[in-house]
Symmetry: C2
Subunit: 186 residues, 2 copies
């Protein structure tokens, strides 16, 4: 038997998302989140550097993206290498069982400027990670950033659709569709 109730970070995430939905992000206190999870403020900040980060746990995305780009066929064009990475991430992170949670999280973030701000920063980080990974493939500077920007747009569009319960739950499919549309529009 465990010493303490296990999965403290997960419990905090669930408690936070519940409370944010109920009364809004800014009307929810870190102490309240911790209490609902059966923990304390101290423990909350031991698991998350700040209140916003409870919805942005795990900075594994950048690494996954970089790996996915590095692992794309050598013949793939920059934007196709990005799409390859996005597809890999879809199998890893954007799975069907996380879709409902993702949709709730999305709605909460959209409703609060402080959370949108954090999301914007994360997005910049992902874009930079894509550009760097492309440069490691030999794509020169302006082209790498162009492909990263378009890749970020593809990811955003695919994520929007995948989160929407009215759409399908296959992230890879959404990526390929968004990629085609972006290519056609460029």
């Amino acid at each position: 038997m465990a010493r303490w109730q296990p999965h403290a970070p997960e419990r905090l995430v669930v408690a936070a998302l519940d409370l944010f939905e109920e009364r809004g992000y800014e009307n929810t206190t870190v102490i309240e989140i911790a209490e609902r999870a059966g923990l304390t403020k101290s423990t909350f900040f031991r698991h998350f550097p700040d209140k916003r980060e409870v919805l942005f746990g795990g900075d594994t995305m950048a690494g996954l993206l970089a790996d996915g780009i590095a692992g794309a066929p050598a013949t793939a064009a920059p934007l196709d290498a990005v799409a390859h990475a996005l597809d890999a991430i879809g199998r890893e992170a954007f799975t069907a069982e996380r879709r409902e949670f993702s949709a709730r999280r999305r709605a909460v973030i959209a409703a609060n400027p402080e959370l949108r701000e954090r999301e914007a920063l994360k997005g910049l980080g992902l874009t930079a990670a894509m550009a760097e990974a492309l440069e490691r493939r030999g794509v020169p500077d302006p082209a790498s950033r162009v492909a990263a920007q378009l890749g970020a747009l593809v990811m955003t569009i695919a994520y929007e659709r995948w989160s929407d319960p009215a759409c399908g739950d296959d992230f890879g499919k959404a990526v390929r569709q968004a990629l085609d549309e972006v290519k056609a529009a460029g």
Copy 2:
């Protein structure tokens, strides 16, 4: 003679930038900023909604961008309409006498994650404003967002170079150069 020392917001901005350079953003207190400007904490928050915003004053950019896009020749392609707007903004906001201030501000922002976060959010706002302005010109959804993303990249590159004291001080020139590079890379 004025009732109070005039230009309180400007004095706060200058005091803040000085202090951020001297001891760093997070080692500077709002009270210290206000005191250096001969004011108080109350007055600081009367002029700026929060501590970060003192470096992001005036949300006029989005409006200027939208106007510039709306005012572009009807025959201009989406990305060229964006470039037209960037050029207009350069004459308005990125003038030669603001260049040194801009470079200092840039360095301070780059050194602090909290400020980078705010900048990321502002960037998203500008990108969204560009996309909306393009849609008002009749550019359909995926194409508008593609052009806005590339326009944001052009703006970023031009701004980087214009801020660099080793480069020229003509923002419009930097825009045109960045535009050519981005077009060639796409």
